[in-house]
Symmetry: C5
Subunit: 330 residues, 5 copies
């Protein structure tokens, strides 16, 4: 779908966007034009971008054919911006979903392009429809509104991740099944991935806020700086959550380790207590001491008492020794 | 609560701050005005900041609605500064508590905003009340006093953390329960979090000390450099404590590991000493050698002596062998 | 093999390249000359590079005798560029294969040199043969076409690695044989090696895109920037795959660890259940209680019942205790 | 103690330093004055620094009241330098001891302040006393001599640490007691701490060598560069020793691990060899085969031979199998 | 030994170098003088360097008395360069041997100083002797030849290390004795040490190639850039070998770990198979079931069959269960 919005001193216009109309509006300077391409095949987008807007073939390739990490290219008359929306999904292990949106920002126009519907773009589209004066503040301000909306939407993803991290920490305290470990690794990777999306987006907004581009009104740069500050804060939250997940991993590992130590201790204590007395019992089961044999005194009353004392005494003294060394807990 | 202090050549004034009065004082140039917002709802703060001080909507949003990592924004006529007070709390595991304070520093005025009461701000407020000449040194000097007080208060948090770390090191030497490990991780994370608060605050003060802002008297920059030096030192102490906690973790892990090795050695020594002699005892308990059977010589006096020698000799020789290899300590 | 292509206003030329012809074409300014050396011995290349093109001896050494990490040298009249083609091979453990291509880019000519046949260079060679106007856009544009083709070919290697990583992840879930670990390490190292090839190539293209070299038409720099952007994206994909392989390693290790824990638990549970009852059985096998001996009551009916209860009760109660502590899974 | 040395064209002077004398000498330009405060209470130092030298209150605070990481502050007319002497102590675990020395370097004077006696400062003091011409080369040269002496004294600490590291490596080869591990961690932390002292001192000397301060004769900057080079080298040695200690830790851990593996192998080999034959012995001890029972053939001569062969053969074949797999060393 | 070579338009000269001759040659401008000090005591070198060449005392100290990490000092009229030759030695564990060479490069002269004979320096010395025109290209070119030779000689060390690494990888596959681990650590440290030598040498050559020093002919800088490129490549190879050694360590550790897991599995499988049946055997060895006792049915034919089935069935079913869980390999 290709749709346009146009605002000029004489009034506004909303329509689907054939190339002719777009070219007409573009020539009628003195206004703001927003053209949005959503899930449109390359064949229909390319002629408009090339013949109406005269974008550079490489910039068009960037927007239509290729996937990019967020970036900002200055083409003189216009800026090309690649940006990502971020979603968080728990199905199939927690993971992060990004969708690319491309923008061309020029004197008097904004072109946006995305393969899938992006609610944040639609929301600003509708706000502009309801109040055409918004477009009247220039295409750079409209771009700011969209980027701000996109960045705000990250917060929702962050809240979901935060809840997932909290749920994880509770789960670790209760029981440490194998899925917990998988969840920790999933969240860890989701946060690494988010970090890799946030860092270049931060650079994009830093560029918009600091560089002196023709197509951005210098008074509007402060708005981009504001979005930039939000991204810096999100980045910081991201780092905090990575710490938290790292802490959860440490807790998990130390809990598992503690349990294994306990198991080994039990094994050792039991073995060490029963091996000697089992030997004693075997010793007195030998045929040397069989009733009708030649060493009756070895199985006499005294031997029996000694044997019984050993049977009770050996494990008991080992137990006390082990307790003194802290092997057996209270 | 909104309160104001005003100092001019003609005298001082202290009052609660309705918008009208503030506007009046602001216009009466030649003096220093400090307006402090404490836990005031947005609805009452916003009109004053917007209509009286004419701050930029984005700066007001930063101060009233959003949480920020410490930062310094230059808005030309005024500076916006987000800063944190730091507290350390042992309840529920040692952790760090930060509270945000926002400042607007302009020609002749200082505006501070915080949601909760902050004792360090109150302390400077009272010092200014007692000696109005302090305000007379300009709003930048007042800001310095507050920031210095805030940074000094970190020292208290550091002392508490230091005590917690020392207590931890003692605990490890005594007994290595599971809570010790949890404490180590808590302290580690508290120090990481502190680090993330200190680093941007250091940048804020670096900015105040080095950049040539209109609203800061160039002679006062040296004071901000002093606070900056304190932050650098705190950062260094923080790193030292992180080393110390890291060392505590290493000690804990190596103690746990040593104990586990000891346990495994004991298990092995006991098993290895008793298994062979248990076999010997079982061997002579077989029915082949029963008294009324055909192999009496296998259970004769000679066999008995051999068996007894083995029973004593096998574990003894293993013990000596293990001792030579260092498996059994002195 | 040394082959040349030449394009001028008067027409094109394709031939093998004796030194004389090359010198002639080079003097006949106004055109574009491409000389390609493929697997030619040093003795035949060196005179041409030295006497016809007058390249600096060090630059010739770089191209003919030495292996280089990708680099870009500005020799004033010409640029020397060392670049790598990348292939991925699964034989003998997954690993990365790089081949060096050297370029000299001057006013009106492009010299390429490689020891082995490189399909990407051949492909552009043939495109130029089919359409001589391509050469007409200048040697820098031809260089761009080759570099673009080389970088595109990395994508194929990346896809193969990606498939190998996916296959790996499936293998880990099924069974964790020792070869899986070897594969993880191989892939890890392949990706580290790729990273070390990509990083300097990125710098080479950054240099071509940003510096103002005489031999590169300023309008063509945008094409090099495009290749640069591709390399940045490849670098990013590389980092993602390193994360994925890191995650696979973590999963492998935690699966192995889980299995080992399970094994240890089983060992402990079995030992702890059978040791006490084995002792009981040995106890009652001693000759003290032999039928014709003096303690018949110790092997009487009551003792038998007690013994039987213990034999059933001791392992059962241990089992329940272990279950309560989470040692035995559901 | 406050002591002064003064050198002028007319001659030298040495005395204890009351404020009046200091002020007098300071005014009598044309000479070099060195005032040294050693362990003097703040109350006596502060008036002199404030009223005689007119240092900034913040700089006086830095010197008298606060502890600092090494730093260099340019106050225009004078430089403030915080520096550390370094000592190494083996008592209570190897650790590093630092003491702070503060310097004020101005036109014609050098002020040094330290809480404890520092032999390196005393040594230069005495050299100046013996040969007053040294002071005649200006206060910056005197400062150089002190800093050089301080940095040289680090070498002694490094030699001691080096010996401790060597002793450690020998100890590891001999026996790996728990104290060895503690020593490794202590040395590791001592080296980390040294590193944190060296790094800012290096920056201080870099500043003295590179910046164009009024109070430093430009010809003398080369001397500070020399001290800087020493610090760079010490830093490098420090890194080497950290490697060495890291290597010692690796060796220790791998030795401990090897021993544990050996212990586990022994446990397994013994268990695996004796368990089957113990079972065989128990089997033939059952009452089924008692002499006067119904299965005499099970305990007949053939069974005995089979039993004996198994008793010898089972552990033997396991031993050979284990040997083939490398479980039992040569 | 102090030897000199001198080249001027009038001819060359080779001799041992008394101070007088050196001073004479130095004054007779218009030529190139190379003085080489080899293993000469300080007392003989110092007067020449100080009185003939007038080097700064600190520079002389650097060259004669101190050990340095490679560095480049610009003393205006001359450059001081500290450089290292690198050798690799397998005796006493693989390790790296470095020797320091110091150079002074001035207008018309080159002074080299080294404590031990360095073959690379001798080689260039002899080349200059054979063909005096080499000196005629100026002292900077001679310096280039020596540095190039030194850097080329590193390649030999690298080849040896590479062979050691390959031998190591083979050894790991064959058997993993303790010496293998020691070798890995030795190589690891040798490579870290090489890295620390290469990095500053790279900086030295970067300085020679990029800075505009009076004593270096600007056309010769390209040669130093070539040596710099070699060092960059050596650094890259060094990193690759560090990866390889890291991979060898990983392989070693995972092989050791696999073996330990196998051992534990065997222990567990054997214990778990024999413990229950040993119990069964012991059970039927109790005196309750002795032939002339009251429970003959417990040792009757049926019991015997049940016992036999259990003895076969219990270990068999455990074996099958363990196999299904992947505990016992194919």
């Amino acid at each position: 779908m290709i749709r346009i919005q146009h605002f000029s001193a004489k009034g506004g216009l909303r329509a689907l966007a054939p190339a002719g109309l777009t070219a007409h509006l573009l020539r009628a300077s003195q206004g703001t034009l927003w053209v949005d391409f959503e899930g449109e095949p390359i064949e229909t987008c390319e002629p408009i971008l090339r013949d109406v807007f005269h974008f550079h073939p490489l910039a068009i390739d960037d927007a239509l054919r290729e996937t990019h990490i967020p970036k900002l290219d200055d083409w003189g008359d216009y800026l090309y911006i690649a940006f990502h929306s971020v979603g968080f999904d728990l199905d199939g292990g927690p993971h992060v979903d990004t969708r690319e949106v491309d923008f061309f920002l020029g004197k008097g126009y904004l072109v946006s392009h995305h393969d899938e519907s992006i609610p944040m773009v639609d929301k600003i589209w509708e706000r502009c429809e309801r109040d055409l004066r918004i477009l009247g503040e220039g295409p750079d301000h409209t771009l700011y509104l969209i980027l701000d909306e996109l960045v705000n939407s990250y917060m929702a993803a962050f809240t979901q991740i935060d809840e997932a991290v909290d749920a994880l920490e509770d789960k670790i305290l209760e029981s440490s099944s194998r899925e917990t470990l998988a969840d920790i690794f999933h969240l860890k990777r989701a946060l690494v991935m988010l970090r890799r999306t946030l860092a270049p987006q931060r650079e994009v907004l830093n560029g918009l806020a600091r560089n002196n581009y023709d197509v951005i009104d210098s008074r509007d740069r402060v708005y981009f700086r504001d979005v930039y500050d939000h991204l810096v804060r999100l980045f910081d939250i991201n780092e905090s959550m990575r710490d938290q997940v790292g802490g959860a991993l440490e807790t998990y590992l130390s809990a598992t380790n503690n349990r294994m130590n306990e198991i080994m201790k039990t094994l050792t204590v039991i073995t060490t207590m029963f091996m000697p007395i089992s030997f004693i019992a075997s010793f007195f089961g030998m045929n040397f001491f069989a009733p009708n044999f030649q060493l009756p005194s070895w199985t006499g009353r005294l031997a029996f008492i000694v044997m019984l004392s050993l049977t009770v005494g050996v494990p008991l003294s080992f137990y006390l020794w082990a307790r003194r060394r802290g092997w057996v807990g209270e």
